[in-house]
Amino acid sequence: MAKNVLEVKDLKMYYFTSRGAVRAVDNITFELKKGEVLGLAGESGCGKSSLGFTLMGMPTPPGKIVGGSIKIDGREIVGLPEDVLRREIRWQKISMIFQGAMNALNPVYTVGYQMIEPLIYHKGMEKEEALDKAMRYLELVGLAPEIVYRYPHELSGGMKQRVVIATALLLEPELVIADEPTTALDVVVQAQIINLMKKLKKELGLSMIFITHDLSILAEVSDRVAIMYAGKIVEIGDSEKIYYEPAHPYTQKLLAAIPRLHEDVEKLEFIPGQPPNLIRPPTGCRFHPRCPYAMQQCKEQIPELKEIEKDHYAACWLL
């Protein structure tokens, strides 16, 4: 049994704004095994990006972790001081590919310079050695090693994204969080990047959390899928089970809303209403206002994740 590279228990992270506390991450529990890819899906505003940042130990201000535990490779990181997080955890144990990261490359420095910076800072490598490693990783992501001498504006969107992925892998972290890594890319480039992720998964045994709202993309890489709604995980399990036997009404509706390329769909289903306000979420099951099967119990009590079958959990009173 592969060990758990990530264990999250009862994690809570709230944003403290002038209008109240936004419960972006509200009691999240899950594990990730080594070499596994967990897909995290949900609509905009469900808290998936917030969860990503929280796992890195850097919730975006005014966010704060209010409770729960995050164990990376057995080590608890909640409560660790900032300098320890910076020196030992981030980029070395867990790294992140941000949304729109390709636009975050600094235009005045060469690609190589930006890549070797963490190697020199964290690992104390010499410049030659670091550059060498950078070039190797560029090759790994399918780029010519000479790219180290290029500036970001000389590269295409796909190339920049590959650079970002290479940078995230440089320090050989246990776990990589990818937050919407293909959203800004064209469909062909997107397919190439996803292929790259598959390759890295196989060659490096990469453990990854892949965050996106697009369930089609998720299916292409994930071993397990977690569906988030309003700061909570409503369903989690093996990919096949989720896609073919979705238990939670929300998952079912999400899947029904995907336009299919090779199927004739008369009318696409959609979910009426909007995601709820996270400052004052609905009582009971947060999905109940939009759920066609909502019962009285759903309005009053918050359902917990229950094991429906092996490796398949859902939080719903119908089950």
Binding site: E43, M159, K198, D214, L255, I258, P259, L261, K267, L268
Partner: protein, 335 residues
Amino acid sequence: MAKAILKVENLKKYFPIKRGLIAGLRGEPHRFVRAVDGINFEVHKQEVFALVGESGCGKTTTGKLVMKLLEPTDGKIYLEGQDVTELRTQEEIKAYRRKVQMVFQDPFSSMNPRFRIYDVLEEPLLIHGIGETKAEREELIYKALEMVKIVPPEDYVGRHPHMLSGGQRQRVAIARALILNPTFIVADEPVSMLDVSIRAEILELMKELKEKMGVTYLYITHDLSTARYFADYIAVMYLGRIVEMGPAKVIIDNPIHPYTRALLAAVPEPIPERRNIIKEVPIKGEVPNAANIPPGCRFHPRCLYMERGLCDMKHPQLVEYEHNHWVECWLAGKI
């Protein structure tokens, strides 16, 4: 045969690349980005015509040319038989704008963040002098919001765009486009920035409104799955040319051009069993710079089937491969 609402003939748009003083003095020739390089198509009444392609293919530029936000370098555009490219005076252009409206990609930046929803919808009315009294205008605005299912309208008119969700904003954008009762709507990636679960809703709405109001759509997108669902007719663009076009289902189920095939192969599909299998996408290389269009068939450097001596030297012509299905490829039907 349904009448053509929009007809585009040999439309071209070249953007000059600024060159330095030295280059000018040396007499170097001007270089251009050939964003749209001679396209022809027709859109019929109440049809949804999808213009599909990756970024840089010229589809957005085409949309802007139809909207007269850009002036063509060459070619003609006809709306209901009238030559749009010949319109000169302010009144003529304004009258044209009333008939052709646009829905933009980014639901947030397409509305002035300081405006309330009421102001956003009132603007077109004020510009074109529709509704003389405030009460008249208010009624039109409420009706428009109801049509896009923003109800009750009173609750929303006082809000600012950032107080609405992405889907709601896009609906307001659609309402804004429809409030003038236009003939034609150019929808530039209207759902790309929305969650997948919301796209269905918006596209459903647009379909419904097409029936109700008799509008015709030019649907610009890079997403073939939504194009299949929403469009009647698809034209695939690459580097400024239409390389294949035909009825939506035909293009998706029987693509002829290698580029179309590559696009279709690249579309992610929710089939988790294949997750460890590398997806085959029959294309190589990167999209070239539109300032340096390859000679011959512009797709040839990326084509896996390209024939030396033919594809890299002579530009293929658009041929009718089968009824109403056009392809621009020397190897059409042979691969």
